[in-house]
């Protein structure tokens, strides 16, 4: 990857990053005062019990505490809130209470401004409130100065965790709109992730069965679900009793996403490091039992994933794996999120990181797919070329013209022999035409082909050639005409002066490999054995590659009595 490419990828990242950052910034602006911090207030004072007079502004607050009680006690809390002149101009004001797991009634300067759910004394009388509520403040009570918020609450549906309320005060319109707008933007992103997930899922199931595509599809789909689960709280005030179900779901999503991130890089670049995933799983389970805070837990999950991804990618880059630099680049924003934005803004920056992550890897995967297509073309064109090569064996001028010349000689000398010669030739042509369209034939066909060729050559050379086979399996599938080619090579390149020249074809199974040993008799006339292989041997090698990939080996060379060729095929 050169500088230009890095710049290119960087610009692409910016392309994604910039609009998100802009939303983020504009959103904060639009929201006015605060985006995600609570509205600054005096400390919240709490008292267990239930007394309607506690809504009043001026009461004796001795005996009130800053500690929230453990459920199931009913309690009140009171807080003093400053409205400055700036905020006071933006009436009507909205007071939002978020992430507070309770049913409650709210009083503003002693006036009831609304309820969330229904406060009760047990589960039957309580109706759980939603996860957020925005209260409209009366304009006459929105003057600059100190105001009192008093809340009467019950938490009979709580599962034990105490969650302090999160207060936001701003103009009512913006209060009710901004988070929905933000969620809308996040859902656009979620839609993109969903489409990417579906697309790569289809690629995996319909065409290329490679794990990296499935993992990438799952990863994108889970990120889609994560966004839904994360931002549902911005527009749907689900009952607070569901809150931990949601948090728990998110936690499992981040657990899975973390594993999938590492798995994606491992399966894509370094499959031999699969054991690292077990290691990561053990750590994640360990964190789960060790940490009780879900936010912290997610942070740890993501970080172990980043660590393992980094090791994998570093090794891949070191070994110059194709597109591994892009992979490495794609996790940098996630690292940045962990290093610079935890815990404040972590969620938001994490999703920006995921977006960049998905987009860079999308780019790398599409490049990979492009390469695959080119490779496929190559394989296809090579197969066609081989087909042509095979067809050419039928009509090769050297073979055809020499054979015809010999035939003339036989016609003149012995018409009877000439007829046998023609019959032998017809037999060879028939055998060849039977296999010429095929990519794979049976061993018995190949042996027939060799024998009919030898018969033709017998008439041409007046030498009684023989083929001796040992250990071959008639039904075994092999590429067409490879032994025929070796036979032809032997006939063309060897000076045969024995009386009964015999070609040998031997098959053995050794150490989970199949070994074919082919031997051509006679003295080789080729002096330079290191020279580039002739077209015959090239044909054989191309055929072996197209059938066995790289799971074959070919050795050949002279020996005392001729020329040997040894083909070793790994058993798959």
């Amino acid at each position: 990857m050169n500088g230009k490419d890095i710049l290119f990828v960087f610009l692409k990242s910016l392309f994604v990053f910039a609009p998100l950052y802009l939303c983020f910034q504009l959103g904060s602006q639009y929201y006015g005062d605060r985006f995600s911090g609570p509205y600054p207030t005096d400390p919240i004072m709490v008292r267990v019990g239930d007394d309607p007079s506690w809504k009043m502004i001026n009461i004796d607050e001795s005996g009130w505490d800053t500690q929230f009680p453990n459920p199931p006690s009913n309690y009140w809390w009171r807080v003093r809130i400053q409205i400055d002149s700036n905020l006071a101009e933006r009436t009507p004001l909205g007071l939002a209470i978020r992430s507070y797991l309770a049913s409650y009634e709210a009083y503003w300067d002693g006036h009831h401004i609304g309820s969330n759910g229904k406060v009760g004394y047990d589960r039957t009388s309580e109706k759980p409130g939603g996860i957020f509520k925005v209260f409209l403040l009366p304009e006459m009570l929105s003057q600059p100065g100190t105001h009192l918020l008093a809340v009467r609450a019950s938490q009979h549906y709580s599962t034990g965790q105490i969650r302090k309320p999160f207060l936001l005060l701003s103009s009512y319109d913006r209060q009710s709109q901004w988070l929905i707008i933000f969620a809308a933007f996040m859902h656009i992103l979620a839609g993109v992730f969903l489409v990417i997930g579906l697309y790569y899922g289809l690629i995996f199931f319909k065409s290329i069965k490679e794990w990296q595509f499935l993992i990438f599809a799952l990863l994108s789909s889970l990120l889609f679900l994560w966004i839904l689960a994360e931002y549902v709280r911005f527009y749907y005030a689900y009952p607070y009793s569901w809150h931990f179900v949601r948090i728990f779901t998110i936690s499992w999503l981040s657990f899975s996403v973390s594993l999938l991130i590492s798995a994606f890089f491992i399966f894509r670049y370094q499959p031999q490091l699969k054991w690292l995933l077990i290691f990561q799983l053990v750590f994640q389970v360990g964190f789960y039992y060790w940490k009780s805070d879900f936010d912290e837990l997610n942070y740890y999950y993501i970080n172990i994933a980043l660590l393992i991804s980094f090791l994998t990618l570093f090794r891949a880059v070191w070994h110059k794996e194709k597109y591994s630099e892009e992979g490495l680049l794609s996790i940098i924003p996630l690292f940045a999120a962990s290093f610079f934005f935890y815990p404040i803004y972590y969620d938001q920056v994490l999703f920006i990181g995921f977006t960049i992550f998905i987009f860079i890897n999308l780019y790398a995967l599409s490049r990979y797919l492009g390469d695959q297509r080119v490779h496929l073309e190559l394989v296809r064109s090579r197969a066609n070329l081989l087909k042509v090569e095979l067809l050419k064996k039928n009509i090769h001028p050297h073979f055809l013209m020499n054979t015809l010349t010999s035939l003339i000689s036989w016609v003149e000398e012995s018409p009877k022999t000439a007829v046998s010669f023609i019959e032998a030739l017809a037999e060879e042509f028939e055998s060849l035409s039977e296999i010429s369209e095929k990519q794979v034939i049976e061993m018995s066909q190949e042996v027939d082909l060799c024998k009919s060729h030898l018969k033709v050559m017998q008439f041409r050379h007046e030498i009684p050639y023989q083929l001796h086979t040992e250990g071959i399996l008639d039904e075994e599938k092999i590429p067409p005409a490879i032994f025929l080619t070796l036979l032809e090579n032997g006939l063309t390149h060897n000076k045969i002066d024995t009386h009964n020249p015999t070609f040998y074809l031997n098959r053995k199974e050794i150490n989970n490999t199949i070994q074919y040993y082919f031997h051509a008799p006679g003295l080789s006339l080729k002096n330079d054995h290191t020279s580039t292989p002739g077209t015959g041997l090239q044909y054989v090698k191309a055929r072996l590659s197209s059938m066995y990939g790289d799971k074959w080996k070919l050795e050949s060379g002279p020996d005392k009595e001729g020329w040997f060729t040894k083909i070793t095929i790994e058993n798959s």
Binding site: H398, L400, N402, T405, S406, I408, S409, H461, H493, L525
Partner: protein, 231 residues
């Protein structure tokens, strides 16, 4: 006439042998056959030879290296091959003829006609003549040759700056060379395009002046040939 056939396919050699015997009859002194090149090399070194029939695709050896080697020798070479596409290159290297397989007697007769001066398309395609230079055989482009001078059984091929020794006789070269080379004298062959003027002296003595200033003698027969070509 001594003829050698180098052909690895016995049947083809037999066919060629029969046809040559029929066509040449008593003109044939000795007809031999070698299956492999090594034998052929031995044979060539030992016995006199007038004509060589050579199968160009000899068991994996490079035909054109051989061709250069054989065409540098005094005898004429004829290629017999199934690869017609090699004919042009073979002619460039100075073979007498190229017979494609399968062949017949008529085609073979044409080759022999060429050998006995009856050919009309003589020298077509010839581009190089194999000569010896410092013990090595090199191909001298025909376009560089100004004239050729006999030197016993050999010939000297003169270019603008130097000359090369060729193993072929004047007669053999005359058969191979294209029509623009004229035998102006028993000992001289000259490229027509190199002649500046033909000079006539008293007593029916002639000579030519080449463009580079060199003077060569012209025989009476040579003058007639020149005269007929310069009209």
């Amino acid at each position: 006439m001594n003829i050698l056939i180098v052909e690895d396919e016995i049947r083809i050699a037999k066919l060629l042998e029969n046809q040559i015997r029929e066509l040449l009859g008593s003109k044939l002194k000795k007809l031999s056959h070698c299956q492999y090149l090594a034998e052929a090399n031995n044979f060539i070194n030992k016995y006199p030879l007038d004509l060589l029939f050579l199968d160009l695709n000899l068991k994996g050896e490079n035909g054109f290296d051989l061709l250069q080697k054989f065409t540098a020798l005094p005898f004429q070479t004829v290629i017999v091959s199934a690869y017609k596409d090699q004919a042009i290159e073979a002619f460039e290297f100075g073979v007498l003829d190229f017979i494609p397989k399968p062949f017949n007697k008529k085609r073979l007769q044409k080759t022999l006609d060429r050998l006995f001066h009856h050919s009309t398309d003589q020298g077509k395609g010839l581009k190089y003549i194999a000569v010896k230079k410092k013990g090595r055989i090199v191909s001298l482009p025909l376009s560089e040759i100004l004239f050729i001078q006999a030197d016993g059984h050999y010939t000297e091929l003169h270019t603008a700056s130097q000359y090369f020794i060729c193993n072929k006789s004047m007669d053999s070269l005359e058969i191979l060379l294209p029509k623009q080379f004229i035998r102006i004298h028993r000992s001289y062959l000259v490229d027509l395009n190199r002649i500046e003027e033909i000079q006539k002296f008293p007593g029916s003595k002639y000579q030519i002046l080449l463009k580079n200033g060199k003077e060569l003698p012209v025989s009476r027969k040579g003058f007639k040939l020149l005269d007929s070509r310069f009209i």
